[in-house]
């Protein structure tokens, strides 16, 4: 049973491994919990999921798996019958109640249910029976289990109309959703390249010892520079026009990047890269910077990130003079290729949701220009993109 549960989790792309499954089995063996679905939920999440980002996927997988197998231990002595009845009525609409009356009232229905369950108990030694939803029993028709009500085995025998895993409290953590600055920073942090450059101001103890020893005990001090993140990033932001609706996500990306990278340079462009980009959006017509100059100034080691929706007329990319703002001598495509050929690694982050990409011809063109290195501006997309850059 656990193996199937495990496979179900894998199907929902919760990253869990065999080792964790073995841990879970071990935990059950040691009786950390006993016959308690809620506790099992917590325990399995504790052991199998290692990041709150995956909690939502886990919840969904758990719901899928346990909707099919629901433990029912009805009519144990400790369930007061009138309380059970009240619980039933809560879930019935007026029409259903009327229908119920026609069937001989709830009294009778409960009676039948009780008998039915007793029969099952006899046939299945042990007393628990996995009851599925649906089927031909009259109980299904009267809303006995439309929302998967469980009569569980915890101490207080409580019903819970909505189970923990159905609440999906961790939906916000799911990596596929768009996120705030903090989380973007997290994603960007992966882009790191430690290097020792600059002034030597740290005592290199190992080397000092080694050389002192070789010097027969005479002190021979060696220094080295401190380590720091030496990654250089160059960002091109698309501004204006269709980008206006994505302003918030781009802003948070911008502030996340700003605090994350020491060596960060950014330029603005509109729709597609042509011969000029600019640093200050207010003075864009006066103070544009030649792209050729940019290419000459920044070495090929810079990691390049384009941020833009790439939503425009296809001619803006492919034809000279296609720009909506000015008469460009060479097509955007030529300029894009120039930039891409200069730098080793580059990606395009697109705030447009990925499922709409196929409806815009221009996105397809840019994507192929980027040799498919286009990622959605979501936490997941950024992570993937950063992986591509490193």
């Amino acid at each position: 049973m656990l193996v199937e549960f495990f496979l179900c989790l894998r199907k929902h792309r919760v990253p869990c491994t065999l080792r964790e499954l073995l841990d879970l089995i071990n935990a059950l063996k040691k009786q950390v919990i006993f016959a308690d679905v809620d506790a099992f939920y917590t325990l399995s999440r504790l052991i199998l999921v290692k990041d709150e980002v995956h909690y939502d996927k886990f919840d969904r997988a758990f719901a899928e798996y346990f909707d099919n197998v629901q433990s029912v231990d009805l009519f144990d002595e400790s369930i007061p019958e009138n309380w059970l009845r009240k619980e039933f009525e809560k879930h019935l609409s007026a029409a259903e109640k009327a229908q119920l009356e026609a069937m001989g009232g709830l009294e009778k229905l409960l009676e039948t249910l009780k008998e039915r369950l007793k029969e099952q108990q006899k046939r299945h030694a042990g007393g628990n029976k996995w009851v599925g939803t649906g089927g031909t029993s009259p109980f299904g028709a009267y809303g006995y289990n439309p929302e998967g009500i469980r009569i569980g085995q915890d101490g207080n025998r409580s019903f819970r109309a909505v189970k923990v895993w159905d609440k999906r409290e961790f939906r916000n953590f799911d990596a596929d959703t768009e996120m705030g600055t903090r989380n973007m920073k997290l994603a960007l942090r992966k882009l790191r390249k430690f290097a020792r450059t600059g002034a030597s101001d740290e005592l290199d103890l190992d080397k000092t010892i080694q050389f002192t020893a070789q010097n027969a005990g005479m002190l021979d001090i060696h220094m080295r520079p401190e380590r720091h993140n030496a990654v250089n990033v160059l960002v091109f932001f698309d501004v204006g026009g269709s980008m206006d609706e994505h302003i918030q996500s781009v802003e948070s990306l911008f502030s996340a990047m700003h605090s994350e990278f020491k060596h960060l340079e950014f330029f603005y462009f509109h729709n597609c890269i042509y011969e000029g980009v600019w640093k200050d959006n207010k003075r864009r017509y006066k103070e544009s910077v030649d792209v050729m100059e940019v290419l000459n100034h920044y070495g090929r080691g810079y990691k390049v990130i384009f941020v833009g929706d790439a939503t425009m007329g296809p001619y803006e990319i492919t034809y000279p003079g296609g720009s909506v703002e000015h008469q460009n001598q060479e097509s955007g495509q030529v300029w894009m290729n120039r930039v891409l050929n200069h730098f080793d690694k580059s990606i395009w982050l697109n705030p447009q949701p990925e499922q709409y990409w196929s409806y815009h011809h221009s996105i397809g063109i840019i994507k192929s220009l980027m040799s498919d290195n286009m990622f959605p501006l979501t936490l997941d997309g950024i992570s993937q993109g950063i992986k591509q850059l490193t």
Partner: protein, 278 residues
């Protein structure tokens, strides 16, 4: 040995189960959550309940994994050698035990807190894989193997600043402390300030959770800030009615400095308050 929270620390069911599972199965427990939800407190309280020592290892950006095991003080040995000290012939005199060594060789099963592991270098957790897994390590200088007498209860906290490597995560149990609900918050306050007026608490909680719900706050106030704020309210003897008036008519809450730690947040709330007044 079962952990159910203490007089001064409220742990919900999930957290209790997580801690107990980690104790029984002898696995490190990785705790994440918003700042101020009591991650570090957990280890302190756990040690108190179990009546054992707490060994705290606070991680900084410069901390190396090796420092948790042992350090070899080469410089003082060098100095001693030039002074002709007899000590110098035994290398063991210059081995300084780290926190993990202390935890491994303690008489009782101790609680080892590795605090804010995400502050360290990205490779830091990877360097501890074997030590956490097998609870043993090898001292190169003296050629001795240090094996844990009994596996310490390891609590690791993280603020999510860096992603931890998969191999490390696979060796831990993971629990995310969610922000307390209103009821849980109520019982946390009861534990800390048993004599506070209930009316004031109710009002304060209302203001607190409303503040947390404001969109765009840079730093949402958390439990520890709420407790500080309540204390201030009590000291200043602010009446629940006054608090209520302030809140419903618009205006910053009294003593807002305890809740909001960022001037942009203060000005944001001021603006909102101003808008609701009109």
């Amino acid at each position: 040995m079962k952990f159910t929270g203490t007089d001064s620390y409220i742990a919900n069911k999930d957290l209790q189960l997580a801690v107990n599972a980690a104790i029984i199965l002898e696995k490190p427990l990785l705790i994440k959550g918003e700042p101020g939800t009591g991650k570090t407190m957990l280890a302190e309280e756990l040690a108190k309940v179990l009546g054992t020592d707490l060994i705290q290892w606070h991680i900084k950006s410069t901390t190396k994994a090796q420092q948790g095991l042992y350090e070899y003080d080469a410089v003082s040995r060098l100095r001693d050698s030039q002074l002709g000290d007899k000590k110098v012939y035994d290398i063991a005199n210059y081995i300084i035990k780290g926190k993990m060594w202390q935890a491994f060789t303690a008489e009782k099963r101790v609680v080892l807190l590795i605090d804010e592991i995400d502050k360290a270098d990205i490779e830091f957790p990877n360097d501890l894989l074997l030590e956490l897994d097998k609870m043993e390590f090898y001292v190169n200088e003296t050629r001795e193997r240090i094996v844990a007498k009994q596996r310490p209860i390891v609590i690791i906290t993280s603020n999510n600043e860096k992603e931890l490597p998969d191999a490390f995560l696979r060796r831990c149990f993971f629990h995310y402390i969610q922000f307390p609900t209103v009821d849980e918050m109520q019982s946390i306050i009861d534990v800390h300030y048993p004599n506070v007026k209930q009316k004031l608490v109710k009002q304060a909680l209302e203001v607190f959770f409303a503040t947390r719900d404001v969109n765009g706050l840079k730093k949402k106030p958390s439990t520890s800030e709420l407790l500080d704020w309540l204390k201030l309210l009590m000291v200043e003897d602010i009446s629940p009615e006054y608090l209520h008036d302030k809140h419903s008519k618009g205006g910053l809450m009294p003593m807002f400095g305890a809740l909001l730690k960022n001037e942009q947040d203060v000005s944001l709330l001021e603006k909102l308050a101003f808008m609701s007044r009109r």
